[in-house]
């Protein structure tokens, strides 16, 4: 169980660690962007229709209950090893919080506000864009934030199907338990994943502050 002391391990594997960190971070952000776009668009399409909203949430919630390892394993034979499986499977997980909060947010807009928007001559699309989306935005953003945390964790697990990020370190540590540097790998991988999650969270606090309409800030 001997290996390098942790600081020396960090400097020795500096290149690998930074590379893993970058890939993990960027991949998480890409997937989050796609999940956000798809989730919000889907939400905007179904929120007025109770049945469609319930059906789409139900479908994604079912997906959500299946362990990610199982789904990765299921899709590798179809979509291949690596990002081909990793990106779509993780995106599907990331959709649920965004979709659910988009629907909830859009439906939470006060009916009197909507009635007066219609009453003064705003069309359906304009009401969605200028009234409903800005008012639902804090709720939608909360969903995106949850989705972001989820995705960072899932990208680590996706190392199992060959998605190269910080998960590699963690899996390697598990597989070679007791070997040289495995403890270092585990600690470094965990810390870096946590840092990515915290960075994303900090970014959300910033985005929330900048993008929440001033009239809604409490």
């Amino acid at each position: 169980m001997d290996g390098l002391p942790f600081p020396e391990y960090l400097s020795a594997f500096r290149e690998d660690l930074i590379g893993g960190f970058q890939r993990h971070f960027l991949l998480s952000v890409y997937i989050l962007v796609v999940a956000t776009a798809v989730g919000m668009i889907l939400g905007m399409l179904v929120y007025r229709n109770k049945l469609a909203a319930a059906a789409s949430i139900g479908a994604l919630a079912t997906w959500f209950t299946i362990p990610s390892i199982a789904l990765f394993g299921l899709f590798v034979p179809i979509l291949g090893f690596g990002l081909g499986t990793g990106i779509p499977v993780i995106t599907m997980y990331g959709l649920l919080p965004v979709l659910r909060n988009t629907i909830a947010g859009l439906n939470s807009v006060d009916s009197a506000t909507l009635d007066s928007a219609r009453g003064i001559g705003m069309g359906r699309f304009r009401i969605l864009w200028q009234i409903e989306l800005p008012l639902a935005w804090p709720v939608i953003l909360a969903g995106i934030r949850v989705s972001g945390q989820l995705i960072v964790g899932l990208v680590a697990i996706a190392a199992y199907v060959g998605v190269i990020g910080l998960g590699e370190l963690l899996f390697s540590a598990l597989q070679n338990l007791g070997s040289v540097n495995t403890f270092n790998q585990a600690v470094a991988g965990t810390l870096l994943v946590a840092i990515i999650a915290l960075l994303l969270d900090a970014a959300f606090v910033l985005v929330r502050r900048v993008s929440t309409p001033k009239g809604l800030r409490v």
Binding site: T113, S116, I120, M122, R126, I131, P213
Partner: protein
């Protein structure tokens, strides 16, 4: 109010140099709304002629279809059948979204956009209509002043920073901003406290004297209807019009038991709220006792009676412009009430007295005979 309806906007100085558009007529012709799966229509074959520049009050018990009727005018609810003509044009043939930009809309819950400033709220319709920025800015400032809000103080605030009364002022400013000829108002002053409500009502009536919009105003409060309306449509279930007449006429000669039930107690007292001192010939000033606060000329007869009862007097002095101009006595008031009753009977040919509450069939005197007796009254 009703006298002023026909006149055009007086030339007040307007910062924007624009003249307000006066009202246009609205005709509801056999308008019906039936929701699928219901037996009876929410609005059943309503016919209503609304004169330009009038405030028409739709009043009735909850569920009578008054709001549905109003919301069909700007097609927030699509009629099942019938025609709605605004200035002669059938609204069902127009684009509904564009139609609504030409009709002011004020609701009880106000419905300001909470994420937008007061300025953005008020300017929404002109923006939809594509006005240029400078014109919108001038107009918003003007409208905020019109509803009694200082633009410098309020333009950049958000709705939640305003009181309920102030918010509804913004609601009215938003509805008026693009200068629509028609306003639809659904219990607009129903959610504010009584003092603020009275104030908003008075201010709105003053405003309307200048604007002459055609206004359809929904309320369940008959006193509000009497105060605000040029005409009142008393509606029963299915928007059946029980009576469509001036407040004076409804108070003095309700068409049937439903209307008199809705008018409630004290119809004569309410009627006195509609009469002002200038409808009486005053006695010389020396009759009244000294030391009692004189009443201004614009007081209603209701105020006068109230003052007399409060002080236990049968005469009070009247001032106009700070000068005592005469005295009014209790006998003057009673005489005026008799006159009004006689006028109403003459107008309806005595028919009203037939259906007056308390009058039972068989004991009703011959209408003509009764009218004749009234004429002989020494009023």
């Amino acid at each position: 109010m009703s006298e002023s309806a026909a006149t055009t906007t007086e030339p007040t100085t307007r910062p924007s140099g624009e003249r307000e558009a006066g009202g246009v007529p609205i005709v509801l012709d056999g308008v019906t709304k039936k929701y699928p799966g219901t037996d009876s229509a929410a609005v059943d074959d309503i016919h209503l002629d609304i004169a330009p520049g009038d405030i028409v009050m739709l009043v009735g018990p909850s569920g009578c279809g008054k709001t549905t009727t109003m919301r069909m005018i700007n097609r927030l609810i699509e009629p099942t059948s019938g025609r709605i003509l605004i200035d002669g044009e059938d609204v069902l043939s127009l684009n509904d979204v564009k139609l609504r930009r030409t009709i002011g809309y004020v609701i009880q819950q106000i419905g300001l956009f909470p994420h937008l400033t007061i300025e953005s709220n008020v300017s929404m319709v002109p923006k939809l209509l594509g006005w240029d920025k400078a014109r919108i800015a001038t107009r918003v400032e003007e409208m905020l002043s019109v509803v009694g809000l200082d633009p410098a103080e309020f333009a950049h605030r958000y709705p939640r920073q305003l009181s309920g009364g102030q918010q509804q002022r913004v609601g009215v400013a938003r509805a008026l901003c693009a200068d629509p000829p028609i306003m639809l108002m659904d219990e607009p002053f129903g959610a504010v406290d009584p003092i603020t409500r009275t104030k908003l009502q008075d201010e709105f009536l003053n405003l309307q004297q200048r604007l002459h919009k055609t206004i359809v105003f929904v309320t369940h409060d008959f006193d509000e209807a009497v105060k605000m309306g040029d005409k009142i449509a008393v509606l029963d279930k299915g928007s059946r019009i029980a009576q469509y007449a001036s407040p004076e006429e409804i108070l003095t000669s309700p068409a049937d038991d439903f209307v008199s039930g809705f008018v409630g107690h004290g119809a004569t007292l309410k009627r006195l709220q509609l009469e002002r001192l200038d409808s009486l010939d005053l006695h010389p000033a020396d009759v009244a006792e000294q030391g009692v606060e004189p009443l201004p000329m614009r007081s209603t007869l209701h105020d006068v009676l109230d003052a007399m009862i409060a002080d236990g007097l049968d005469a009070v002095q009247v001032v106009d412009d700070g000068h005592i101009v005469g005295t009014v006595t209790l006998e003057d008031l009673l005489g005026r009430v008799r006159e009004l009753r006689a006028e109403a009977d003459a107008r309806t040919g005595g028919a009203a007295s037939e259906s007056r509450p308390g009058a039972t069939p068989g004991t009703t005197p011959d209408p003509e005979l009764e009218a004749g007796q009234r004429k002989d009254d020494p009023t």
